[in-house]
Structure formats: structure tokens, C-alpha cells
């Protein structure tokens, strides 16, 4: 037991400026280890739900609506080819939101693992970066699985459609960052079901995922333009159908980038407030 004698000095003393990436990597490793223990629970949402959704909406509903006028208003593609990239992006939003609500609040108030991290040399920036890096990995995993299911169904119109994975990840992060910041300020979970009911579900239904937003009343359309979901869906769809022009690409990326950047800045403030009070 003498080896554990904590008298020894001079162990890996952290340098004055500890790289954020190091802490981020350690936090990422922690989340990955936890995921190895709980991944079975996320099997349904990750793997089975895309299959079910694409089968029901793409094949079932698609065959029902695919006729002259509908195909024309969708730009000449089948409903399934129109819908699938939209769902790919929207799934990023849903995965990111569920991973940024309860798990973040729990890390502050239930098992307090963020407090445990902050008692070590890991910095607040490292904690936030590690959390978002982990969410990025999760989003890549779920988007890739979803994309492979799309390919299996034959719902991908062009090879560039693979970039829809990136669109899904960016859409996810545009929610993950601000929702993480919001959750860090919560002491109970009452707000989270409201977020799902009044924010995520309407965004899922009305951001162009299931039908072009031109179908929406004109007064509502500008609201859709402000949402990250609309831009993520448009991005994924544009890649898949090959309809993206350079300006559209830049606008979509810029809006998603603004949400991500603003969310990260807010998360840094919210984490500092929660950890240093």
C-alpha cells in the first residue's frame, strides 16, 4: 500500500496553460465509457426508428402521394427521396436535444459529474468542448446509420447525398449547444417536456421536413427561415437532390454556424455560473 502514499510530489504537474483539447479528450473518454454501458438503451432511437420512419413515410405515405401534381411540386422527385434527407437532418435535432437536456442537468444536480470534473485540472472550456465533441460523435453515428438505411431503401438521389450526414450533424449541434446551455441553468426537468412539446415537435413538423415550407401561410414562413431546422433540412435535401446553389449553401451554413457559435458562448457562461457559484 505504500505506493499509494500521497506524499510523493512532482507527479504530472499540469502546465500553467493546460490545453483545452486535453480536458475535452478526457471528458469525451468519460462519456464514451458511459455510453458503452448504456448504448443498448439508445438502440431503438438510433437504429430501429429510422427504419420504421422511412418505411412508413417513404414507402407507405410515398406511394400514396406520388402522382403527377405532387411530384411536380416536389421538384420532380419521389416523396421518399424528398422526405428522407429532411428526416436525416431532423433526427440530428432530436438526438442532440435529448442528449443535451436530462444528461446535462443530471451532471449538475443528480450525480453531479460536472462538479467532479471541475474539481480536477479540467477547465470549464474543456468540459463544454468534451461534452459537445461527444455529442458530435453521437450525431455522426446516428446520422450514418440513418443514411445507410436510406441507401438500403434506395431513397438517395445523388452521391453527394452522403454530405447529408454532415448537415444532420450541424443541425444537431445547432441545437446541442444552446440546449446544453439552457439545461445547465435548470435545477429540475419540468422545462424539458415543454421544450419537446412546444419547440422540437413543431420544428420537426413545420420546418420543411415533410412538405416544402411554401405550403405554409405566408406570415409563418419567415419564422421557419429563422430556425436551424429549416436550414439543416434544406442543406441535407440540397445535397441529396443536387439542387443546392452556392449562395443557398453559404446561407444555410452561416445560420447553423451562428446557432452553434452563440450556443457555445452561452454554454460557457452557463457552465461557469453553475460550477463556480
Amino acid at each position: 500500500m505504500s505506493a499509494a502514499a500521497p506524499v510523493a510530489r512532482g507527479q504530472a504537474a499540469a502546465s500553467p496553460r493546460r490545453p483545452i483539447a486535453r480536458g475535452a479528450r478526457q471528458v469525451f473518454e468519460f462519456r464514451a465509457l458511459v455510453y458503452r454501458r448504456v448504448w443498448r438503451g439508445s438502440m431503438f432511437s438510433t437504429f430501429l426508428s429510422p427504419v420504421l420512419f422511412l418505411a412508413a413515410m417513404g414507402v407507405g405515405l410515398g406511394t400514396f402521394v406520388d402522382h403527377g401534381s405532387a411530384i411536380a411540386s416536389l421538384g420532380g422527385v419521389s416523396y421518399a427521396a424528398f422526405l428522407a434527407p429532411g428526416l436525416l437532418a431532423a433526427q440530428g435535432m432530436q438526438t442532440a436535444t435529448s442528449e443535451s437536456t436530462w444528461p446535462v442537468m443530471g451532471g449538475f444536480t443528480w450525480d453531479r459529474t460536472f462538479h467532479a470534473m471541475y474539481a480536477t485540472p479540467v477547465s470549464i472550456a474543456g468540459i463544454v468542448a468534451g461534452h459537445l465533441a461527444w455529442l458530435t460523435a453521437r450525431l455522426i453515428l446516428t446520422a450514418t446509420v440513418f443514411f445507410l438505411v436510406m441507401v438500403a431503401f434506395g431513397f438517395v438521389a445523388s452521391p453527394l447525398g452522403v454530405l447529408g450526414i454532415g448537415a444532420s450533424v450541424l443541425t444537431g449541434l445547432a441545437f446541442a449547444a444552446p440546449v446544453t446551455a439552457f439545461s445547465a441553468g435548470q435545477t429540475n426537468d419540468t422545462a424539458f417536456s415543454a421544450i419537446n412539446r412546444f419547440l422540437i415537435t413543431p420544428l420537426f413538423l413545420f420546418s420543411g421536413t415533410f412538405f416544402p415550407i411554401e405550403q405554409l401561410p405566408e406570415v409563418i414562413r419567415p419564422i421557419a427561415w429563422l430556425t436551424p431546422t429549416f436550414h439543416g433540412v434544406a442543406l441535407a435535401r440540397g445535397f441529396s437532390l443536387g439542387t443546392l446553389d452556392p449562395i443557398g449553401l453559404l446561407v444555410h451554413l452561416a445560420v447553423l454556424g451562428l446557432y452553434i457559435g452563440g450556443g457555445v458562448a452561452w454554454a460557457m457562461i452557463a457552465f461557469r455560473r453553475a460550477l463556480t457559484k
Binding site: M1, A3, A4, A5, P6, V7, A8, R9, Q11, A12, A13, A14, S15, P16, R18, R22, G23, Q26, E29, F30, L33, V34, R37, V38, D111, R112, T113, H115, A116, M117, Y118, A119, T120, P121, V122, S123, L275, T276, K277
Partner: protein, 344 residues
């Protein structure tokens, strides 16, 4: 009428060349005042923490010497945890000076933290991981290799007697086991300074004694312990020196023995009268002891000779139901300094 002999009186070392007392008191007396650099692991001057308008810690001064075991004793809300969080570099100081391991928490937080072990008031264990994984992940935060973290995890689990639970999840462990795991985790970086915020609150006596034993072993190895507690027996067991905090300020400082000598008498005579009699007592008790305190159920007489005071009371015709002579304890000091009214 029964007379009980004192049974508590812990065998405290005599003042003088005891374990750390001499060095410890030097740290607080002379040299620090002239500004010369002293070998203090923690040095606080005018340390202040405010939350908005609420004064949590009000300009306190203290020094903790290497190898010392130092306690913050005080009722809830006295400012103990706020002080600990400032030392632990997680709560920025509002005003004053604080140096930990010779560094400034404002600029060297990460470096200080790399040499600290922290046992927070509420456990912060990860419930989804196993006992051993909790230690390894924590070691990784201190830049240990996986192999080294694993090696230390196994040693520490043995040290806190949890080796047989290594592969179990944390959730079903008892409170005492979780606390031991938290202490093991706080040692994974082989810290120079261990901060323990109410380490045994809520544990049963067996679990507390096991924890005290482990902490005492750490102390013998030269680890500096800083702990908060509101248990007097814990302070007497573990602390070479302690401060008593009340309402954000330090109200007394010294070794347990010194505090008892300074703020209490050698013995306490406790008299319990039949219901209704105590209220009728007036001046009959005056002059029997140096200090007298009336509690709802009994009267405490602070005196250096309890037996003599008991005899004197008997001679005055007082006929209490029970008479108890005991040694003064830290609890007497604590209650005298922080008052008997309930603090919520």
C-alpha cells in the same frame, strides 16, 4: 442520586511538543504578520466571499502548515463550505488574499487542482460506471495513463476496503461505501492536500470509525488534511488545530485542548432537577461555579472542580434528580461560542 465519572475525556496529547501543535501555532502567530514568506500550504488574509448582498465568508485569516490536520468547525451556514470551495479553486474569492500550495487560485487554478484531493459534501460519483471505472476516469482527468490509473485504482480500493466491490455499480453501495469510494477517488492523483467537506455526515458509527481510521493513516503519511465538520468528536479525533466559524467569521482558533482550556473550565457539573423545580431556582445556584448555564432540562455549572461544586450545592440544600460531573469537551466550547439557538 447518582454520580457519574467522566468517561468521554479523549486522550489528547499534552500541549507543548505534541505532534503538530507547536509548528501549527507558530504559523498563525508571529512570522506571518511581518510578511516574510512562510511555509504555509494555505494562507488566507481577509478572505471574503459574498453572494450578492449575502456575506458568506467575512474577511477571515488562517494558515495551514504542511502535514497538519486542520478543521473548520461551525454550525450550518457559518461559511465552511464556501471557504473550502475557494481553497479548492472552484469558487472565485470576492476579496482578500488566498494562497494555496504557494500559488494563486485566480491564475493557477488548474495547477493547484492537480495537487489537491477533494471530497465534496455531496458525493459526485458516476452512477452509471462501476466502482473501479469511477477511479480510472478520475485518474484520467489528472493526466494519468490508463495503466497507471488502473494500478492506483486497485491500490486505493484496497486502502478503502472496497476491492471486492470493484466491478459493481456505484448505485447500490451503502452511504459509507460511497463515501470511502469518494475518498479513494480524491487520492488518485496522490494529492499534497486533501479537502474534506463534512466527510462523515449521515454515516453510521461503524462507517465513521472506519473512515476516521483511513484518514488518520493518510495523516500519518504526511498528507495535509483540511476538513469541515459539525461533529465535535470528529474534530477531536482528526484535527491538530481548528477554527470555529460562526456567521461567516472565525470566532476561535487553536488545538482542541487549547480551545477547551481557553473557553471552558476543566469540568462541568450537570444538575437535573425534577420537572417544575428548576424554574423555581433563583439565586441558590449563584457562586457555585465560574459560569452557569440554564438549559430547559438541566443546569450546567462550569468549574474546575465538579465534585466540590456538587458538594457545595448539596450543602445549600439543593436536591437534584441526577448529578453528573464530566470533563469539558469541545462541544461546550462550540456551544458557548456559537450559541444554543437552533440555526436553520
Amino acid at each position: 442520586m447518582t454520580t457519574a465519572q467522566p468517561i468521554d475525556a479523549p486522550n489528547l496529547p499534552e500541549p507543548g511538543p505534541d505532534r503538530f501543535g507547536a509548528r501549527a501555532s507558530a504559523a498563525l502567530d508571529g512570522q506571518a504578520a511581518d510578511g516574510s514568506p512562510r511555509e504555509s500550504l494555505i494562507r488566507a488574509r481577509g478572505l471574503t466571499k459574498k453572494f450578492g448582498q449575502f456575506m458568506a465568508v467575512d474577511a477571515i485569516d488562517f494558515d495551514v502548515a504542511p502535514g497538519e490536520s486542520f478543521g473548520f468547525l461551525g454550525p450550518n451556514g457559518a461559511g465552511k463550505t464556501s471557504t473550502m470551495r475557494m481553497i479548492g479553486c472552484v469558487s472565485p474569492i470576492t476579496a482578500g488574499e488566498l494562497s494555496v500550495l504557494g500559488m494563486d487560485p485566480r491564475t493557477d487554478g488548474a495547477r493547484i487542482k492537480s495537487r489537491l484531493g477533494v471530497v465534496p459534501q455531496q458525493d459526485t460519483l458516476d452512477m452509471e460506471l462501476t466502482v473501479r471505472e469511477n477511479l480510472i476516469i478520475y485518474g484520467r482527468y489528472f493526466d494519468l495513463s490508463r495503466r497507471e490509473a488502473g494500478r492506483r485504482a486497485d491500490e486505493l480500493l484496497e486502502f478503502v476496503q472496497l476491492s471486492d466491490r470493484a466491478k459493481d455499480h456505484v448505485e447500490p453501495l451503502s452511504g459509507g461505501m460511497k463515501r470511502r469510494l469518494t475518498i479513494a477517488r480524491s487520492l488518485v492523483n496522490e494529492p499534497d492536500l486533501l479537502l474534506l467537506d463534512e466527510p462523515t455526515t449521515g454515516l453510521d458509527p461503524q462507517a465513521r470509525h472506519l473512515l476516521w481510521d483511513r484518514l488518520y493513516r493518510l495523516k500519518q503519511r504526511g498528507v495535509t488534511l483540511v476538513l469541515t465538520t459539525h461533529y465535535m468528536d470528529e474534530a477531536e479525533q482528526l484535527c491538530d488545530r481548528l477554527v470555529i466559524m460562526d456567521k461567516a467569521r472565525i470566532v476561535a482558533v487553536g488545538s482542541p485542548r487549547e480551545l477547551i482550556e481557553q473557553y471552558s473550565t476543566r469540568e462541568v457539573l450537570e444538575l437535573r432537577f425534577p420537572v417544575g423545580v428548576q424554574e423555581t431556582l433563583g439565586s441558590e445556584l449563584d457562586g457555585l461555579a465560574e459560569r452557569l448555564e440554564r438549559l430547559p432540562d438541566r443546569v450546567l455549572l462550569y468549574t474546575d472542580d465538579g465534585e466540590a461544586a456538587a458538594a457545595a450545592a448539596h450543602a445549600r440544600g439543593l436536591r437534584p434528580e441526577t448529578v453528573l460531573v464530566r470533563r469539558s469537551s469541545l462541544e461546550d466550547v462550540f456551544l458557548r461560542l456559537t450559541g444554543r439557538s437552533l440555526i436553520e
